[in-house]
Structure formats: C-alpha cells, structure tokens
Amino acid sequence: MNSGKLATYLFLCIFLVACTSAPRPVKYGTDNCIRCRMTIVEQGFGAEIVTKKGKILTFDSIECMLKYYLANAGSKETYAYIMVTDATKPGLLIDADKAVYLKSEKLPSPMGENLSAYSNSELREKNYTEFSGQRLSWTELCNLFTR
C-alpha cells in the first residue's frame, strides 16, 4: 500500500466516523426544546431525535417530540434515532418504538399531556398500580396524537 492510498483510506475512515449519527444524553439545564423553546429541566421526561445526517434535536417532553415528529413525518428528513426517557431512570434514553407509555393525570409531564415512558411493562405496571391511567404502546400513542 503506497502512502497516497493509505492517506485516502485514513481520510475515508475519519470521514465516515464523523458522519455516523449517534444519540447523546440530553444536557439538562442547558439544552432547549426545539418545539417549545423551553430550557429542558425535568430529567424524567427529556426526548431526542437524531437525523440520518447526525443532527440532534432535543425535546423537553414526549409530547413535544411526538408532535414535532408527527408534523414532520412527511418531510424529506429521515430519522436515525427517536428516543424518550425512562421515567423511572432519569436521564436514560431508550428507543421510542420499543418503550411503553402511561398517560396519567397524576403524573404530569412538562407540556401538559401527562405522558411518561418506560423501558418495559413491569416498570410501567409499578406506576400504573400507584397512579392508574391509560396504558399505551408507541403505535397507539402516535394514533392518539394523529387525530
């Protein structure tokens, strides 16, 4: 391998690495919500969308993310990651379509829709027995907000 080839190879490696889109934790107290402009502070509710180009969009709540996502569903921009926070593990982002949801008046979320997300249904069941409410999957949640 001559040095020119090596340089091209290295350059490509770096270039490709730089292009990978990956989620990063929401910076609470610093990041602003793309949709409602508020500084994101509640660690149990943050959400994030990462576009295929690697642009990171942060949201203060599931409802803000969902409304943004549904409003831009028809746009050319495609998303690599759509993530929500597990309400029982503040700061931990999980895949939105694999998460399960609870809509409960007794668990108010930052933008008034009372939505919380959980990594699995056992965790959700704990809060459901304590606070009751409406149990939803990602698809059901999308349908609820598409109306």
Binding site: Y28, G29, C36, T39, V41, Q43, G44, A87, M111, G112
Partner: protein, 417 residues
C-alpha cells in the same frame, strides 16, 4: 338617629344569625412550655374553625396534613423544619389560613414534587407572611380555587436547574391572587399551568435559574407591577390567550437563550406600560397574534423586539425605543404585512418635522439590513458598528430592497411618548 338599644338589638340579631362554630371557635396554644408541643398534635386535637397559635421555636415536623378549616398563626416567626422528608405541610380542605411561620427543608426528588406547603383540592385558603427557605417547591398548589398567596418570602437555594423546583407552582387552579411576594433562587419563580382567572400583582421574582414567571395553557390571567430581574431565561408566556401584562419591569436577563419576555403561541393579549431594560432580547415573539403592545419602554437591550415571521395582526404603538443595539428584528421579509407599527419614539430616527405636528415627516424603518443579516448568520454580530455595516444600513434605509418594506412606522414621534 339610632338609639343604643336599637344598635344592641341589631348586634344580637347578627350574632344569632352567625353559624355556631364561628362563635364558639377555640384558640389553641402550641409551643415550647405549652400543653401542645407539636403542630401535628395541635392540628389533630383542633376542632373545625379553631385557631392555633404557634409560638416561636423550631419544630422538627413533616407531613402535617390539614383537612379541616383552621387558622394557624405564628407568634414570633416559629420555624417548621421538614428535615428533607417529603412534604412539610399539606392543605386539603376549605377555609384554611396559614400566617407568619417559616417552613424549611422539604424533601427533594426527581420524580415527586415535594413542597414546603402542598395544597390539593382546596378553596378559600390564605397563605400570608410566611417564609419558605430551602424547599424543593416552596408552594405546590393544584386543583384548588379562590385562594390568596400574600406577602411571603421564598428562597429555594437552587444551584442547578434540575435539582430544584418552582417557587409558587400552580396547576389546574382558578381564581388565585398572588400578591406582594418575593421569590428567589428557584427553578421558575412563579409557574402557571392550566390556571384561569388569576392575578399576579406587585411581586418580585429574582435570580431564578430558569424563568421568573412561566405561563402555560393559562387563559384570562393578568400580571401587573411585578419586577423580574436576573432570571436565567427571563419570563415566558406560552400557549395562552387573553393575558393582561401591565406595568411590569423586565431587567437584566442576559444570555444566548435569554429573553425579557418570551411570547410563544399567544393570542388576544395586551402588553402595556412595561419597562424592558438591559435584556439580550426585550420581547421575543413567535406565533404571537392579535396582541396590542402599547406604551412600553425599551432601553439598553441587545434587541428591543424580535418578531418572527409567523406573527400576525399585532399592533405596536406609542412605545419608546432608546439605546438598543437593534430596535426590531425579524427572520422574514414578509413580516409586517399584517402588523401595525405606529407613533413610536425611536432614538435612531433621523427624520425631521417641518409641519411641527410632533410627528416625523418621513417614515422610519426599524429593521436594519444588518439585523436581518445577523438573523441568518448570528456570529456576524461581531461586525456591529463597523463602518461598512453602517454604510450598508444607510443605503438600505434609503433604497430598501431586502428589509421588510411593510414593517414601517409611518408616523414616528419626534419626542418620547
């Protein structure tokens, strides 16, 4: 002339008509050296409508739950120290008054909203002359109506936005009066979500980490003569309508995402007689429609007003713009088609008044070309006041091609309003 006999007769009649519990309400004394040593014991032995006098001292208590009409009055500012265990006092009932006590150290949590005073499903309650020190939320009030929060001092000792709650947090309430309170070092000083028909008057909200005042989904409210200064992001009024904002002072809100007043998704509101002094942005407007902005003073701000392209039918009239880096800025050259700008005083106006009607004879275009440039390339702001920029602005002012020609004050005032 009424005779004494007659007056006595009426007095007897009135007292006979009063409900019995009020007449026979007892006063319980609670404190060091008194038969009742703790507030919770006094609350549990008290009958409805009794008065509890709480004498000076430190009470290490939490989870005091009040469910009956009571008046609790502190003598010499007694201190209730919650010891960071959940809620300190919970009010759940009607006609409960708390006066002159200091409440300290509620619990802190990322998933629960622990508070110095928590109020649930209550009405006709009064919280006055109290001090709230180092609580997560000082007051957390929900599903209640017709209450008065007056003359309190709140200090949350907040260090990070995420580890602190709001000062006065009101959620799903109606007809509240928030008067003469001083709030500092919380996350949001005053927080309104789904609150209607309420007023916030003569409060001071300083040094809060996020907003001095935060309104969401709350209609038909007013806030008058408050002072909001040094808050992380200023004041935010969003997703609401019919708000009356009068005579407030918004000052020293500096930072890249900080505003004196952030208006987002708000309709049919009035902003009059306020002062915006020394903020990064005086008023930021996004999707704010049918507002009347009248008689305000904007001075020493980076941007006095930023009106985004999605704002329609707004009237900006008889305001003073003095010593701002940018008077008005927008992100769209179409802004202004449906907005009215009239009879404002602009210190940058260089026109003349030949007919002496106190109104400039040539119109003033407050959006400079450079401000439009900065909207699309924010870092270009380093070129502010450079010679080329000034030349460019001057040429554009005389031969407008890029700035929104419709966003124009056709009758600028020659002197301050």
């Amino acid at each position: 002339m009424y005779s004494i006999k007659r007056v006595l007769f009426f007095l007897t009649l009135i007292s006979a008509l009063l409900p019995a519990p009020v007449l026979f309400a007892a006063t319980l004394e609670c404190g060091p050296g008194k038969p009742l040593k703790t507030l919770s014991s006094a609350v549990s032995v008290a009958q409805a409508n009794d008065k509890i006098l709480l004498f000076a001292g430190t009470y290490h208590e939490s989870l005091v739950h009040i469910r009956k009409p009571l008046t609790i009055e502190g003598i010499g500012m007694p201190v209730i120290d919650g010891g960071e265990n959940k809620d300190v006092i919970t009010i759940e009932g009607d006609h409960i008054s708390i006066k002159g006590i200091e409440i300290r150290n509620s619990g802190k949590s990322t998933s629960r909203d622990y508070a110095g005073i928590k109020m649930v499903n209550s009405s006709h309650c009064v919280i006055e002359h109290c001090r709230f020190i180092n609580n997560f939320f000082s007051m957390h009030l929900d599903h209640s109506k017709q209450c008065i929060i007056k003359n309190n001092y709140l200090n949350g000792n907040a260090k990070t936005e995420t580890a602190s709650g709001n000062g006065i947090h009101i959620w799903k309430c109606d007809s509240f009066s928030i008067l003469f309170n001083k709030i500092e070092r919380h996350r949001d000083g005053i927080y309104f979500e789904f609150v209607r028909n309420s007023r916030i008057i003569s409060n001071v909200s300083n040094n809060n980490l996020r907003y001095g005042l935060h309104f969401m989904f709350s209609d038909y409210d007013s806030y008058h003569y408050n002072i909001f200064s040094n808050n992380g992001a200023g004041v935010a009024v969003m997703y609401t309508q019919h708000i009356d904002m009068k005579g407030n002072t918004f000052t020293k809100n500096w930072g890249p995402t900080s505003y004196g007043l952030l208006l987002k998704d708000i309709n049919f509101s009035r902003i009059s007689g306020n002062s915006f002094i020394g903020n990064t942005v005086g008023i930021q407007m996004e999707n704010a429609n049918k507002l009347r902005i009248q008689g305000n003073n904007f001075s020493q701000n980076g941007w006095a007003m930023r009106i985004m392209g999605n704002c329609e039918y707004d009237t900006v009239v008889a305001n003073n713009f003095i010593g701002n880096s940018f008077d008005l800025s927008t992100n769209s050259s179409g802004t202004g088609n449906l907005n009215v700008l009239e009879a404002n005083f602009w210190d940058k106006y260089k026109g003349y008044d030949l007919n002496r009607d106190k109104t400039g004879d040539i119109p003033y275009r407050p959006v400079s070309l450079f401000s439009m440039f900065v909207e699309s390339v924010p870092s270009a702001v380093v070129l502010l006041h450079s010679f080329m920029i000034d030349v460019m602005d001057e040429v554009e002012k005389n031969l407008p091609s890029l700035i929104p020609v419709t966003l124009v004050d056709s009758k600028p005032k020659m002197k301050k309003n």
